[in-house]
């Protein structure tokens, strides 16, 4: 992994040495996803390619850039089985502050993450069962996960219940620039999901999912200064989704709300609305808006600056919980996106999606945002193509 150090404004920081990717152990989207409605074996397979270009920044400082090609394949096997899988390569480069949004502590890096997953599903008359495995490899982080799921539908197929269980085992070995003498760290997590999907009317579909996760192991970010987190974490989320078909213009309104709470003391709310509007026989445009707000972790260190505006680091006793990670601060965020899907033929579809996103502390809802942080901005473009077979 190539890296070099870029220095900006001077800061009263300590411990800034060689650079490396700033890292936080995160959970990837689930392989076993709650089914949309009554599960039946698919009649057609699909192969899809999608390319993501992502950039983020704070005022006056470009941060991370990611280029990700990805591939997805789903095929029925007979009338009772299906198999699906995906693969992605994330090429990551750029810099992230080691403390709060202090630019002077940042370093430039390059990293590559390769990930793949496979899921097999067996279908019965009104039920299905699936088994999935996934793996993710980076220079300093390896994760392997397993999931099992089941879905069951009512006699009229208007109601589908789903349950899933998953677990992952992670290995963390920080490279240059991480906290000294940290290697061979591990983390294990388990997750549960239970939900129901209901056809409310001939034009309304709703889904409610409850997920719970618990883990123990190494949660610190070894590339951030003074980052000491609990070695256990519990997370819960309640998600509600509603799709409504507008008969008049044949468009679809899609709404999502998610409530989240975890053992860090963070509470978060997410609201999203989309309108999938066919503008011709072959073109669908989908504008969307996403609103997000979160409180700060109970061990988040509020940013402090000296009389010259330079960050002042706290001096916590060894082992005391502490973090200056912007992602654990209190803030609100707004995301706007526009997706275009064009049907080239009965088999081929191409799509493009543009998204703009910004976080600001004073956009937090339900309390004060964390002070002393620069706004965070991100832009993303996705280009894709898919073919049924």
């Amino acid at each position: 992994m190539k890296h070099s150090i870029k220095r900006g404004r001077p800061a009263a920081s300590r411990g800034a040495g060689g650079g490396a990717v700033v890292m936080a152990a995160l959970s990837l989207p689930g392989v076993w996803l709650a089914p949309a409605h009554a599960e039946t074996a698919p009649e057609k397979g699909v192969i899809a390619f999608k390319y993501l270009h992502y950039e983020d920044s704070q005022p006056g400082f470009d941060r991370i850039r990611v280029n990700s090609p990805s591939l997805y394949l789903m095929t029925p096997i007979g009338s009772q089985w299906s198999i699906e899988g995906s693969a992605v390569i994330d090429s990551v480069s750029g810099a992230t502050p080691r403390w709060q949004t202090a630019v002077s502590s940042a370093s430039v890096m390059h990293e590559e993450r390769k990930a793949a997953d496979i899921k097999v599903t067996r279908y019965f008359n009104r039920s299905s069962y699936s088994l999935g495995v996934s793996t993710s490899h980076e220079h300093d982080y390896v994760s392997n996960a397993l999931s099992l799921g089941g879905s069951w539908s009512s006699d009229d197929n208007n109601t589908t219940w789903n349950v899933g269980i998953g677990g992952s085992a992670d290995q963390i070995n920080p490279t240059d620039g991480g906290v000294p003498n940290v290697s061979g760290k591990t983390k294990q997590t388990g997750e549960l999901i239970a939900g129901v999907t209901q056809a409310l009317s001939s034009n309304d579909l709703v889904q409610v999912n409850l997920t719970y996760g618990a883990g123990h192991g190494y949660y610190d970010d070894p590339y951030k200064l003074l980052d000491t987190r609990p070695d256990r974490r519990e997370q819960a989320a309640l998600l509600g989704r509603w799709n409504h078909y507008l008969v008049g213009d044949q468009s679809t309104l899609r709404a999502t709300y998610r409530f989240y709470r975890d053992s860090y003391g963070i509470t978060a709310h997410t609201v999203q609305g989309e309108w999938a509007k066919p503008v011709s026989e072959t073109l669908i445009l989908t504008p969307a808006i996403r609103l997000y707000t979160q409180s700060a972790a109970n061990f988040y260190a509020t940013a402090l600056n000296d009389e010259n505006g330079r960050p002042v680091l706290p001096d916590p006793p060894p082992g005391q919980l502490n973090s200056g990670d912007q992602r654990l601060s209190a803030f609100g965020a707004v995301g706007l996106s526009l997706k275009a899907e064009y049907r080239l033929s009965a088999l081929w579809t191409v799509d493009a999606k543009f998204e703009a996103y910004e976080q600001r502390a004073n956009w937090r809802v339900g309390g004060a945002g964390s002070t002393g942080l620069d706004p965070f901005r991100a832009r993303a473009v996705q280009l894709g193509a898919s073919r049924k077979f």
Binding site: A25, W32, S202, L253, A255, L291
Partner: protein
């Protein structure tokens, strides 16, 4: 921000029709591609990965995704 959330809720609730569970022959619109939740798998994964990398909240959609040292 509060006004934006209220406006979003109003938009979502607009156009509500009477809620009677459909008979088997009334499910044509439910089967339209736009009505499928999370129909574009790669898009869903990209956006959820981005959000969970830049925010603290995650989950609600599925299990078994594993972890990453993502920034």
């Amino acid at each position: 921000m509060k006004k934006a959330i209220s406006a979003a809720c109003v938009l979502v609730l607009a156009g509500c029709s009477s809620l009677t569970p459909p008979q088997a022959w009334e499910k044509g619109n439910l089967a339209k591609p736009g009505m499928t939740m999370g129909s574009d798998t790669l898009d869903e994964r990209f956006v959820q990965h981005i959000y969970s990398s830049k925010e603290n909240a995650s989950g609600g959609y599925g299990v078994g995704g594993g972890g990453c040292g993502c920034n």
